[in-house]
């Protein structure tokens, strides 16, 4: 009976139809799989977020080439209180979405004559992220917080020159990377 089925032309066509249907399902499944895999993973925008935070902090620290007098005035450094700095810069690092703070920033002022020692330091946020920045430099990233570091040049009211280095770290791994 089996032999007659294979020998029968109509029986062979039946098998061929099933085969084509299976190939169709296979290809459709593959395409669905590819789309799901690609669009299922989120876009990582933490570098942009870190840069935006740097720009906001930089605008608060220095404007039109001069350092704000609340930080350095007449050669005297005024170490800003963390909360006062956040308030003055209109920054809020907390979020109701996360139980743990997802940001960290650090601002260091260096005299142009001595770039080894920071004369003024302001930092806020989750300090645990600092150690991850070193790992990022080694190329181990993805699920770790993304760090961005930028420097710029500015003057105080007496014309003394400073290099201001701003470091930001943004975690938010769950929303930016498929873990």
């Amino acid at each position: 009976m089996n032999n007659s089925f294979f020998n029968n032309k109509r029986g062979g066509e039946k098998y061929l139809s099933v085969y084509w249907f299976l190939v169709l399902v296979l290809v459709a499944g593959g395409v669905i799989g590819m789309v799901t895999v690609y669009y299922g993973s989120p876009y990582d925008i933490r570098e942009i977020e870190g840069t935006v935070l740097i720009n906001k902090i930089a605008d608060c620290v220095s404007y039109e080439g001069r350092i704000d007098k609340s930080f350095i005035s007449n050669g005297i450094f005024y170490p800003a209180n963390e909360q006062d700095f956040l308030k003055a810069c209109h920054l809020n690092l907390s979020s109701t979405e996360w139980t743990e703070q997802q940001y960290y920033f650090q601002v260091d002022f260096y005299k142009l004559s001595d770039l080894t020692k920071s004369v003024l330091n302001i930092s806020s946020g989750n300090k645990n992220y600092i150690s991850f920045c070193a790992l990022q430099k080694q190329g181990i990233t993805r699920t770790l917080p993304t760090c961005v570091e930028k420097s710029f040049y500015s003057l105080d009211d007496l014309g003394n020159e400073y290099i201001i280095k701003i470091l930001t770290a943004v975690r938010k791994s769950e929303k930016n990377v498929k873990i």
Binding site: G30, Y38, S41, N55, G65, S151, K178
Partner: protein
């Protein structure tokens, strides 16, 4: 049709199916690799988030103008090293 004569067409269909499966797996692997590098860099995108923000290079430029570009070369060298 003899059994021997059936082997040829069957082998062709099996090989064709295997090729389809292999090609699909290659594409799946490519999309998995591409999905891992879905990071948008600041240089690649234009946002309006920092529209009112004075760019860092602009800040440096303004400060250099104030000092009449006295240490421009040294400052640019330091910032070039630090900002990459």
């Amino acid at each position: 049709m003899s059994r021997k004569a059936q082997i040829g067409p069957t082998a062709t269909w099996v090989v064709a199916t295997l090729i389809i499966i292999i090609v699909l797996f290659i594409f799946l692997a490519i999309s998995a690799v591409m999905s891992k590098s879905k990071a948008i860099k600041t240089a690649e995108v234009k946002t309006d988030l920092g529209e009112n923000s004075e760019q860092l290079s602009m800040k440096t430029n303004l400060a250099e103008q104030l000092t009449e570009n006295k240490n421009k070369a040294a400052v640019d060298k330091i910032l070039g090293e630090q900002n990459g």
